[in-house]
């Protein structure tokens, strides 16, 4: 023991010297920004607060935020439409609607609710309290003409009340109706050329009246005028499952990073879970990745199959999960924890 002591002292002294040198080198500046440039999001595990008499969410396929910052959740459970406020408080529900298989949900400029039904091939307009106002397509009848859809996925409604429907899993086209439900025109066929679609899975309109179509399985977002003229496409960035337009005119897209929908004879599962914010010029302004959940597990903060996204006036994001049977709220993290 005694004979070890000098070595011990030596090594202690050496470690002090080393510490001093490394302090010289490293401690001059912190390794993290004084003001973070990156926006982090945290999951609010207290959102939503579902009352006991409201049925658990099934696959959440549609989500939208209305003018009062209430979040409309459209799901394949028994209470298909559930509405919560930003704090998670329950606002209202619609019990099982006439919809057989929910897909996206949209709120039009006058506050009415549009539901797409891929099972019965129709798109409905409801008042906020659930009264049916209008139906496009013929229930239970798939088709590809002026009055039939085949598994329509989503609808974008213009300030004038015109409806643009992404149609869909069966057909590969956009169909345009005027506010009275009269067929105006249609465009699009199967394919990967501009103006063609592999699966038109979601559609939104920005304040300039441009249409953004998420061609999910083609891994691109295509931009059109309301006349159906192809303007641009953003490809190789992600597989877009859901879209929403922010007040500032950016487009949030949710889904996975790019991959082939079919590869070596297999249909691979989603690679990961990402949210990408595009400027209206197509520039990527923000990427936020959330953890891909393990099958059969629904850990808070994980996502199993992001399908739809919405943003409220405070910058919070709401994301619907079609494999994880839930919706989650993402809040912007305060920068306090980034200081030493």
């Amino acid at each position: 023991m005694l004979s070890l002591k000098p070595y011990l002292l030596q090594s202690i002294a050496a470690s002090f010297v080393l510490q001093f040198i490394s302090d010289l080198a490293y401690a001059q500046y912190p390794e993290f920004p004084p003001t973070p440039l990156v926006v982090e999001y945290d999951v609010d595990t207290t959102w939503p607060q579902r009352p006991e008499n409201v049925k658990p969410l099934g696959a959440v396929s549609g989500i939208s935020v209305d003018q009062d910052n209430n979040v409309w959740v459209f799901n394949r459970g028994e209470d298909q439409v559930q509405v919560y406020n930003v704090d998670g408080g329950f606002v209202r529900k619609w019990e099982k609607t006439i919809v057989a298989e929910p897909h996206h949900l949209r709120i039009d400029p006058v506050g009415n609710i549009w539901l797409t039904d891929i099972g019965l091939h129709v798109v409905h307009q409801f008042s906020p309290d659930g009264k049916l106002l209008k139906t496009l397509g013929v229930s239970g009848q798939p088709g590809e003409d002026d009055m039939h859809f085949n598994a329509p996925t989503d609808v974008a409604v213009s300030p004038e009340g015109d409806a643009f429907i992404s149609d869909g899993y069966g057909n590969r086209r956009i169909v345009h109706y005027d506010k009275d439900g009269k067929f105006v025109k249609t465009w699009g066929t199967f394919g990967t050329q501009p103006g063609q679609f592999v699966v038109p899975h979601s559609i939104v309109m920005d304040a300039q009246g441009r249409l953004y179509v998420a061609d999910r399985s083609g891994g691109r977002i295509q931009i059109f005028s309301q006349e159906g003229k192809f303007i641009d496409q953003w490809d190789q960035v992600m597989m877009p499952w859901g879209l929403t337009v922010t007040d500032s005119g950016d487009v949030w897209a949710c889904g996975s990073t790019p991959y082939w929908w079919k590869r070596n004879g297999e249909f691979p599962t989603v690679k990961d879970q990402v949210l990408v914010r595009f400027g209206s010029d197509g520039r990527v302004r923000q990427i936020w990745a959330v953890p891909l959940g393990k099958e059969g597990q629904t850990r808070p903060g994980d996502f199993n199959g992001i399908h739809c996204i919405a943003q409220d006036d405070y910058g919070n994001l709401y994301v619907g999960d079609v494999f994880g049977n839930r919706a989650q709220k993402l809040t912007i993290a305060k920068d306090v924890s980034d200081s030493p």
Partner: protein, 363 residues
């Protein structure tokens, strides 16, 4: 993953039965009219070449691969913190040469200049050195083992960009927070930058490249941005919130960046360092042209003592450097995974992929 596939198959099967039921009711489900996948893909997939590189038995495969560059003959240069620091392989994997044994302390990035000479940054020795391709030392910037912040000293330099006229721009570095500019003879010209997250400041200048457009692209890793400067040091633009950039590679008007999707470098007292493994191709004006993810591997609880045997083929843990050859193959160096990978672009589906299938889409 297999479990997920099974569940999905089950889902497809159920959907198939439902559609069969529906058709017996006289309702046709036309989903099968068109394939649910691209027959002429716009997406480029990348496959890992399992046979690259073919490392001879007497060359060490140990150590972080922190630097990587592809020369004009499509030879891939690796710089690693191991017994054989510089290793050169052809694009097809054939071993070319190794050198540098015992010469380096903390290898970081490696670059090839316009004359084919090799530049390396060693942050442990606080120097940047120029070698012939065969490993003969030609020039040293900074003073070995002397950290400092003046015209002749660096503090842990990370990378260097060499202009066609021979001028050198050094990212300096883990210790300092600046770019230092020298002429081809190694005479100090100027330096710019200080600590911070304002334009022209750096939190950690981790990599630098010079475009054919004359602009310098600096990976300010820990603040999650790429800053663009002219050669006078004038700030031009920054791209933030897209990637934590660890390594850069530029060719024509394409800038490949490797790293992680954005996150705070310090969060709740922890340094998470990476979330995932991302490769992004930017246009030199900042548009994102392509994004590709590599699966994040598991190397056990301590990344400084990695159990690389846990890694599966194609996984990486700390993509640190990237290069592209003339055929569009990508090469990435992984520090914590202690390996380099060749990624081969695939743009044509196999006949198997083009067959119509009866399975239904996940909806």
């Amino acid at each position: 993953m297999r479990k997920i596939n099974l569940i999905r198959r089950l889902y497809f099967t159920i959907a198939f039965f439902v559609s069969t039921l529906l058709s017996t009711w006289g309702i046709s489900v036309a989903s099968a009219d068109y394939p649910g996948f691209e027959t002429e893909p716009t997406i480029v997939e990348y496959d890992v070449d399992p046979d690259w590189p073919q490392r001879p038995e007497d060359v060490s495969g140990v150590g972080w691969v922190s630097g990587l560059a592809v020369d004009d003959q499509d030879q891939v240069w690796l710089f690693r913190k191991g017994p054989d620091p510089v290793q050169v392989y052809k694009a097809d994997g054939a071993f070319v040469r190794t050198w540098g044994k015992g010469k380096f302390k903390d290898p970081h990035h490696l670059r090839i200049d316009h004359e084919g000479n090799v530049w390396v940054a060693d942050f442990g020795l606080h120097i940047v050195q120029k070698f012939t391709p065969e490993g003969e030392l030609l020039q040293t910037l900074g003073v070995q083992n002397e950290p400092g912040e003046d015209e002749t000293h660096f503090n842990m330099p990370t990378d260097m960009a060499i202009a066609p006229n021979g001028d050198i721009f050094v990212t300096d570095g883990y210790g300092n927070r600046r770019i230092v500019h020298f002429d081809k003879h190694g005479n100090f010209i100027k330096a710019w930058g200080s600590f911070g997250s304002e334009a022209g400041e750096f939190v950690l200048p981790h990599a630098i490249v010079l475009g054919e457009n004359g602009k310098l692209y600096v990976a300010d890793r820990n603040s999650g941005r790429i800053q663009i400067f002219d050669q006078n040091g004038k700030f031009i633009d920054q791209w933030s919130q897209i990637i934590m950039p660890w390594g850069l590679s530029i060719k024509g008007d394409n800038l490949w960046v490797c790293g992680s999707s954005p996150h705070w470098w310090l969060r709740d007292g922890n340094y998470p360092e990476y979330k995932d493994q991302l490769l992004i191709r930017f246009g030199t004006d900042g548009e994102v042209r392509q994004l590709w993810t590599l699966p994040l591997g598991d190397i056990g609880p301590d990344k400084n003592h990695p159990n690389v045997s846990l890694l599966k083929q194609g996984e990486t843990v700390g993509v640190h450097c990237i290069g592209e050859d003339s055929k569009g193959n990508l090469f990435v160096g992984d520090i914590y995974g202690e390996h380099a990978l060749k990624l081969v672009p695939v743009s044509t589906p196999s006949s198997e992929d083009l067959q119509q299938s009866t399975v239904k889409e996940p909806l």
